[in-house]
């Protein structure tokens, strides 16, 4: 079967790079499948280029709320014990993270 490849919107290399940014390791099969599927999806999304939005402001939030603050007073919060309960690895009162270097 002859495979005809038009210019993909997102290349396999880009999928690998973006997966790295998102810290998700992908198998070879996933890289192949996702590259194909993401291109199909992005090709459909090209539709958005049809509209002229040059004078339109973006909507980040639908309500007109601005910074909702409270007084800097100590209020009851989660106990250390509760905060540690779900940590897969812990030591004393610390959560153990993987090594950084």
């Amino acid at each position: 079967m002859i495979k005809v490849t038009k210019n993909p919107t997102i290349s396999k290399k880009q999928v690998e790079h973006v997966a790295w940014l998102a810290r998700i390791e992908l198998t070879e099969d996933e890289k192949e499948a996702f590259t194909k599927q993401l291109n199909e999806i992005l090709d459909y999304f090209k539709k958005i280029d049809e509209i002229d939005t040059s004078n339109i402001k973006p909507t980040f939030h639908v309500l007109d709320l601005v910074n909702v603050l409270r007084d800097d007073k100590i209020e009851p919060s989660l106990s250390k014990e509760d905060a540690l309960k779900n940590a897969p690895q812990k030591e004393d009162s610390f959560i153990k993270a993987p090594k950084i270097l």
Binding site: L38, E40, F45, K99
Partner: protein
């Protein structure tokens, strides 16, 4: 012989309050039903038989002593597994949270518990609320009680199926792009997405935080108004919750739509809408006419761009919201000796997330990345403004808008799952509502070949009263909400 599990909340509450039936009997009736059919439906991820019976006994003793009890006293409620329940598994339908037990209750859970509702279990869902069929659950799909080889819809499919199959009396779901309304439509139950900000999102595991709301899912409109009355109102733990105090919606339950003007936007009846669905909704519109309402056919020109706009925003927000699942503070952590943090994160998320979640995180990361942010994410936010304006314009001239909830009746399990884009396209009638932030309710409006058709009623910001009133009027004048599947 009354099967208590088949009743609505308002019917059952009366019987519990005057001690015609005990809450314990009701819980047993629910669990008997679950024992009988849950293996066919798979609506639940977790069930809490022991604690539910315990809670029921406490309520029963309080009622016997004549003590004041809450507005949901002794009533079983099922909670979609995306909302935190203290001390009980909360998985979000994902392997990465398979053993997660939150140390706190979501605000909505606190509020229903305060009214003495009894939490009987956590319902099945598409993983992290990403999906429209509940096929993306890491714990297997749910089956539609109306036809078991068909999908329940999603992502709150378990909640809808449990209601339709009388495996619960009340349920809560969450709706980011239609996840309450779609399964409500497919399972012939009532589902309401409130105005953005009406209900607290504290304790709702976030997928797309500028789009989502928790919503009541119920067997009829009266129960919907009751549950909404309990969960709404400002919460200091959710800085995006609207600054309004809790209020009751029970006064909306008036059967009268005389002189209401309904808008019918043609873009919601577009290509891909099944003829039977279109007919079902138009029959409903004519019913409203018979009841004294008027309608206008209108156009909302930017609706055609809703799917890419919604998905670009939702996926971008998801890529940020799901970054917290790294195996450090909670959840699954892959073991790899001598690995540094990037490798541990990489393999934890590789193994812990399903395919659809990975796809959306990757697409979202791409849409936000340098060089693409303006072209995709920012562009989508600008189209969002245009869609929001379309709604404001349409709703300034009409009491509410009427559309199909879904363009089709429930499709077969496996039919769309291999083609993500075809799954997304089914959301065309639901996602515009989340982009604008307006409220919408889905109610049963008929059947074709025993498959449910849902009608969507869309309202103005914070005007849930009007859409509840229109829904209630329709329900009072039609038989569809009384139908039950043959199980």
């Amino acid at each position: 012989m009354v099967n208590y599990n088949e009743l609505t909340c308002h019917e059952l509450k009366e019987k519990i309050d005057n001690q015609e039936v005990s809450s314990e009997e009701v819980i047993n009736s629910i669990f008997d039903r679950i024992d009988k059919i849950e293996s066919k439906i798979h609506a639940y991820i977790s069930l809490f038989r022991d604690s539910a019976l315990q809670d029921a006994k406490v309520i029963d003793s309080q009622i016997k002593k004549g003590e004041t009890v809450g507005r949901l006293s002794g009533i079983p409620i099922a909670i979609k597994d995306v909302m935190c329940t203290k001390g009980k598994f909360t998985t979000c339908g994902s392997r990465i949270l398979e053993n997660y037990i939150p140390p706190f209750d979501a605000t909505v859970v606190e509020r229903v518990k305060k009214e003495d509702a009894i939490i009987i279990g956590k319902t099945n869902m598409d993983e992290f609320a990403m999906g429209s069929s509940t096929e993306n659950s890491a714990f297997g799909y749910s089956s539609n009680p109306w036809e078991l080889n068909r999908v329940t819809g999603g992502s709150s499919g378990g909640s809808a199926a449990a209601l339709a199959a009388d495996e619960t009396i009340l349920a809560l779901g969450s709706d980011t792009g239609g996840s309450v309304r779609c399964p409500a439509s497919f399972c012939s139950v009532v589902g309401l997405k409130p105005t953005y900000g009406l209900v607290s999102r504290y304790g709702l595991v976030a997928y797309a935080n500028s789009l989502e709301q928790i919503g009541p899912m119920t067997k009829d409109v009266t129960d919907c108004a009751l549950l909404l009355s309990i969960i709404n109102g400002n919460d200091h733990c959710d800085s995006t919750s609207a600054p309004f105090q809790n209020k009751s919606y029970m006064n909306a339950l008036v059967s009268d739509v005389k002189d209401f003007t309904l808008g019918i936007p043609k873009e919601f009846f577009g290509e891909g809408t099944e003829k039977a669905v279109e007919k079902g909704v138009w029959d409903a519109i004519h019913k409203f006419e018979d009841l004294g309402a008027n309608y206008n056919e209108i156009s909302m020109p930017h609706i055609a761009y809703s799917i890419p706009t919604y998905y670009l925003i939702a996926m971008s927000e998801a890529s940020s919201n799901l970054a917290r699942f790294d195996g450090v503070r909670y959840g699954f952590r892959a073991e790899k000796s001598e690995a540094d943090w990037d490798e541990v994160f990489g393999i934890t998320r590789q193994k812990g997330f399903g395919a659809e979640v990975k796809r959306r995180i990757i697409l979202g990361t791409f849409a936000l990345s340098a060089g693409y942010y303006d072209k995709y994410y920012l562009k989508a936010l600008k189209i969002r403004t245009l869609i929001k304006n379309d709604f404001e314009k349409a709703l300034s001239k009409h009491s509410a808008l009427i559309t199909p909830t879904m363009p089709t009746t429930p499709f077969k399990i496996g039919e769309k799952i291999e083609n993500p884009l075809s799954m997304y396209m089914g959301d065309i009638d639901t996602v515009p509502i989340n982009l604008a932030g307006v409220p919408a309710i889905s109610i049963p409006c008929g059947f074709v070949n025993n498959l449910p058709i849902g009608m969507q009623i869309i309202g103005r910001f914070f005007d849930e009263e009007t859409i509840l009133r229109i829904a209630y009027t329709y329900e009072q004048n039609t038989p569809f909400h009384n139908e039950k599947p043959n199980l």
